[in-house]
Amino acid sequence: MSSRTREFKRSNDPPFWLLFSAGGMISALLLPVLIVLLGFVLPAGEVSLERVVDVFENVFIRIIVVIVASLAFWHAAHRIRFTLVHVGLHRLATPIAVASYGAALAGTVWVLAVVIFV
């Protein structure tokens, strides 16, 4: 039963964890102000629509939208994956990981498509 005879395999979590951390920091810094501005101040009519258009059409802002949205998806995917596994679904650990990161990938492709093609 000694672990000295156990095989240890290197985990491939690091890149997902780094995405989770980056997404966590970006969301923590930016989401509260964006929610207040775009979810409350804008509908109340206190933000000029022309300014909103100018901001979002800017190419640097487009890049930032891709970064903020996709990192938010990767952040959530990592957390949701571990949460589901740890509330009793440990037998489904692999499908849950594939589905979570797959959804984040789909979200990333979607935001890229919106920013490039719409």
Partner: protein, 129 residues
């Protein structure tokens, strides 16, 4: 002679309901759903901008409804929960030492909150000025 028969019961999947620290941890983890949710809302808003002025105007009208107000309020609460818990835990991953002394948690976390205020102010200025 006493027989050995260790008793082991796998903890239940509802372990997180049993104590407040675990319930709070679960709330913190659930906040990520709302973070992703706002990611979606942000992209939808961008999409309406790119589709043209009438689309954007319709969407802003839609945002100005009780349902979307409540949605954003809930999302904001969880976004703030995420921000505060994430900032407070970040210093634990980094130990900054000067000689034998360790920088305290407060000293490590204050610059992060200051950065948050500065970034938020800049974004607000971007949209409001």
């Amino acid at each position: 002679m006493t027989v050995r028969k260790p008793y082991y019961e796998r903890p239940s999947s509802t372990w997180w309901l049993k104590r407040w620290p675990y319930r709070f941890f679960m709330l913190r983890e659930i906040s990520s759903v709302f973070i992703a949710g706002y990611g979606v809302l942000l992209v939808v808003l961008a999409m309406q901008v790119y589709r043209g002025p009438s689309h954007l105007a319709d969407y802003v009208n839609f945002l100005d409804s009780p349902v979307m107000f409540v949605v954003h309020a809930v999302v904001l609460v969880f976004a703030l929960l995420h921000t505060i818990t994430f900032f407070n835990l970040t210093p634990k991953a980094m130990v900054v030492r000067i000689g034998e002394k360790k920088l305290s948690a407060v000293m490590m976390v204050t610059p992060i909150y200051v950065a948050w205020l500065v970034v938020s102010a800049l974004v607000a200025l971007l949209f409001l000025l």
